[in-house]
Amino acid sequence: MTLDIQVCIECGQYHYPSVMLCSHCGSGDFHTARVKSGNILARTEVSYQAGEDSQEPVSLALVEIDASTRVLARLERGARRADAVQLTLSGKVLVAKAMDTDS
């Protein structure tokens, strides 16, 4: 599933997660924009989860989709060294995949 992001009709500010009033101009009127990709700003590997004894580390990436909008996504194995990634929703989980992966 593709990622639809809340965009302010008045000023064009993107919001993720969605808000009630635009963080920039205060308007309450929004539409959505389909976002397919972004650039990785940072990544981390979470090797400890409270309440769980052992498990596979989880790779996460901070992905920039425009100058003021950054999303956190699960980083798929194939995209670990990529700079640009494809963003998709897998169920309700935001996933960053390698660009050449079919969605």
Partner: protein, 384 residues
Amino acid sequence: MSFAGASIVGAAGVPYRRRAEGISTTTLLRDAFVALLRQSGLRRDDIDGLAVSSFTLRPDHAIDVAWKFGLAPRWIMDDANGGASGINMLQHAMRAVQHGDASAVAVLSADHLTSSDYVSLTENYNSTVRDHLARLKFGGPNSLFSILTSALMENEGLTREDLGQICIAQRSWAAGNPRAVYREPLSLSAYLSAKSVAGPLGIFDCVPIVSGAEAVLVMSAERATELRLPQVKVLSIKALHNFDRHVGDGLTTGLSVVAKDLWAEADCTPADMDVVQCYDDYPVMVLVQLRDLGFTAGMELREFIRSRIATRQLPVNTSGGQLSAGQPGAAGGMHGLVEAVTQLRHEAGQRQVPAARRALVSGYGMMEYRYCLCANAAVLEIET
């Protein structure tokens, strides 16, 4: 605006414990409240205001605590602002006393988090966390702060050794704090070889969760003078929450905006502070708060860590901070405040900073999507 007319006349807490059994959040609140009464010599019925902060008190609120303590308060407050709750409650309690709505306010916080409580809290911290972060298996705030830590390291040319100096210095302060859970010295090699939690964060960069409670007593200055209680004055408090609408990099807080007013109202500068207690959920945030407040003025962060923090010339988080003393849930929001008042009262035992007269306390907390929203700070001075 001045806080004249109200003073802090007590600060107490209970020893922090890891994996404690046979206690509850309410017994911790009671123990801290009783310790506060004992310290000040007040009777239960002298208290006419109550502020409470806790993540695990639900379904109870401050009024239920009042009932369990047999209190009949004229003023009550429930706070839910985590790492900013201590200064937030102080700000409100000082105004309530200053303007006569109450004459003696007990400000309390406690948490007894079982491991399942902790998981539930980190996954349901707010709707953003529940709906957007828990589903990633983000592992709690560690992953968000690992990203912030990497960014600050990259921007400022810091190494893990540099960040380790903060943890090591705090651990050496903790040696003098009987309430701290980790008091043995921490070596650089132990820090560097520690198990990774979320790279570059290792276990010593993350706070150990404990059960604990903190308490502060705010009273009218007139009554405190009659009772001859030592008075810690609040020279100023400033807060600014969600200052950047969450579109920034998380390496600046609202403190950067209000620092100027904070110092002007207190008629002090960072150089006038004898002790500094800043919210240490992670070492990166210690640096961010100190920088925002002007303590690093003109100095590279790396040099600041080496010359001021590692040497303990600037006494930062003299209890050991939450990194060594432990993180008692919402009571972590009062940790630095209680330590600051304890230092100014010269009751800090082996870790006492000689001749401490003034303290800076800062709060930071409430994780949203990429970093925390709340920031506040207070400048305190003991009346002599």
